[in-house]
Amino acid sequence: MIRTLVSVYPNIASVIAMNYACGLSQVIDMEIQPIFVKEPEPETEAPGVGWVRRTWENSLLDTERDAIDRLIEAERSHCANLARAQVLFGKRDNAILSNLMGGTYDLFVEGSLAGFEKSEFEQRVGSELYRNLPCPVIIARNLIQLQKVLVVFDEEINIGNLLHRLTNLFDGTRFRFDLLYYRFSGAGISVDPIDGAEDLFPEVEAVLSPHGWKPENRLALQGSPQGLVRRIQDYSLIVTCLPQRMGPDSSLVQLLGDTFSPILLFRQ
């Protein structure tokens, strides 16, 4: 069973995250633990210790706790293993990382709305939380049911290693998926196949066969980020590695920053 930590907050991103995680749990054996971290207001200083402090914290949490409970209860009917929310007080990313470092979770899920500037996505995947994640993370961006998955790699990603981690995480599960090797080139929205693409998938069979997995398609495409984003927009989950490089040089950040699909990221 995959033990999954889902970050929740009373906002639409968390509705999407919970809904996505619960949707996954219907095809994958998962246990879901929601976590809500209430961050203190910057100018507020926590009073005292012990009972006084706990009372103060609880008073701040009450309104949001109700909203969180409602959010979770809305998903319970189609989510078999959904625990009550763990409620913590403090810096969000620190609390989540601390929980994940405890070693009991196989997957972390958080919601995030697509933005307009790629810098928002870049900031998130470059954050201390993401750089130190002990497990893979799903960034849930929209209410999209899991149908077909796309595993994406470029020259900087070891596809054998990525597939190995993917099959380990979802061992025993079958879903439809394609493989995509991409390369940025040109402008506009045209996307072209790459010649001689067979050599780009060297270790795929060796990794997938023992698990009984088989991609429906192996794609090798080159084009502009805009063109490639259009090409992958119908997949319900994009699987790849956390970008090693940030900034305008990172083709992976450019590709993932614009996609509407949920993204599953593994550390390389």
């Binding site: 906002n11 639409i12 509705v15 999407i16 709305l113 697509a114 933005g115 307009f116 500037e117 961006r141 929209n142 209410l143 509407f260």
Partner: protein, 294 residues
């Protein structure tokens, strides 16, 4: 639903009428086809009372042709706009006595054709004030002489108290991108979006306009409600957050590939971030329609 379609004598009007007919067919709307003057020339003199008896004025001819086109989009037996249908219906007039009665049925929905001469924008607004409607539809090339395409549209957009659909060129969108910066979204406007999505078999993207750092709580809540509403209606809905300082650039980019809808209204401040000049550019440069929702 009540639709007001403003039409002139341009070549785009046929496309506008087709779109209005499709929308009316889905919604069974009452429709007004309003002929307005888009400019005069030797071939198209100003419409005046003297033309009442002479029905050869180009605007009259155009309007009648467009009405015929509108009606032709419906099968006769299914059209809610057929004025008179003579039918026979077997009715039991007395116990055990049946009569095959001659029945006249009037149109189930209204199709009205009017002409308001004079300034086109003022004519459209006067019509909307006198006969309130839910949606005004105008073509972006309403001003047939090509000057200041946005002038009429902009005046109508800013002064009409109802939703306005500006139909641009003839491209059909794959996505409706609807932007909101407040939480007072009417059920009626949700329905219009619903109809646009159905009409074009398009995806829907809801864009929340955020302050510099975050999406305000009330907008976040409203987006969640809207997302659930469309999910329950089986419409694939994507969500995005755009800072208000980037809205103009975002709308310009989005309009190159999609139908852009802006939830404007009394509570909205979108007019601060999409200036009249940028609205002109949006209308000028967009390959797709623009929808102002109220």
């Amino acid at each position: 639903m009540k639709i007001l379609a403003a039409l002139g004598t341009t070549s785009q009007d046929a496309f506008v009428v087709n779109e209005v007919a499709r929308l009316a067919g889905n919604t069974w709307a009452d429709v007004t086809l309003l002929g307005v003057e888009t400019g005069t020339s030797p071939e198209i003199p100003p419409f005046s009372a003297s033309f009442r008896s002479d029905e050869s004025h180009p605007l009259v001819q155009s309007l009648r042709g467009l009405r015929g086109r509108f009606l032709s989009r419906f099968k006769a037996e299914e059209s809610p706009y057929m004025e008179t249908v003579v039918d026979h219906e077997l009715v039991e007039v007395e116990s055990n006595l049946w009569e095959d009665l001659n029945v006249l049925r009037s149109a189930r929905k209204q199709l009205v054709t009017r002409i308001r001469p004079g300034n086109a924008a003022r004519s459209i607004l006067a019509e909307a004030r006198q006969f309130p409607c839910d949606l005004i539809v105008i073509g972006s090339s309403l001003d047939g002489d090509g000057n200041d395409i946005g002038r009429i549209c902009r005046k109508v957009i800013h002064e009409a108290g109802t939703s306005v659909l500006v139909i641009a060129k003839t491209k059909l969108p794959q996505r409706i991108v609807a932007c909101l910066d407040h939480d007072r979204v009417s059920q009626h406007s949700l329905e219009i979006i619903n109809q646009m999505v159905t009409l074009y078999q398009a995806d829907l993207e809801i864009v929340g306009v955020s302050t510099v750092e975050t999406l305000p709580g009330e907008i976040d809540d409203k987006m969640g409600q809207i997302l659930k509403y469309y999910a329950q209606n089986g419409i694939r809905t994507l969500v995005r957050s755009v800072p208000r300082t980037s809205l103009e650039a975002f709308a310009a980019q989005a309009s190159r590939e999609n139908l852009v809808a802006l939830w404007m209204g009394r509570q909205s401040r979108l007019h601060r971030f999409i200036t009249p000049r940028s609205m002109d550019r949006l209308l000028d440069n967009s390959d797709y329609s623009v929808l102002i929702l109220r």
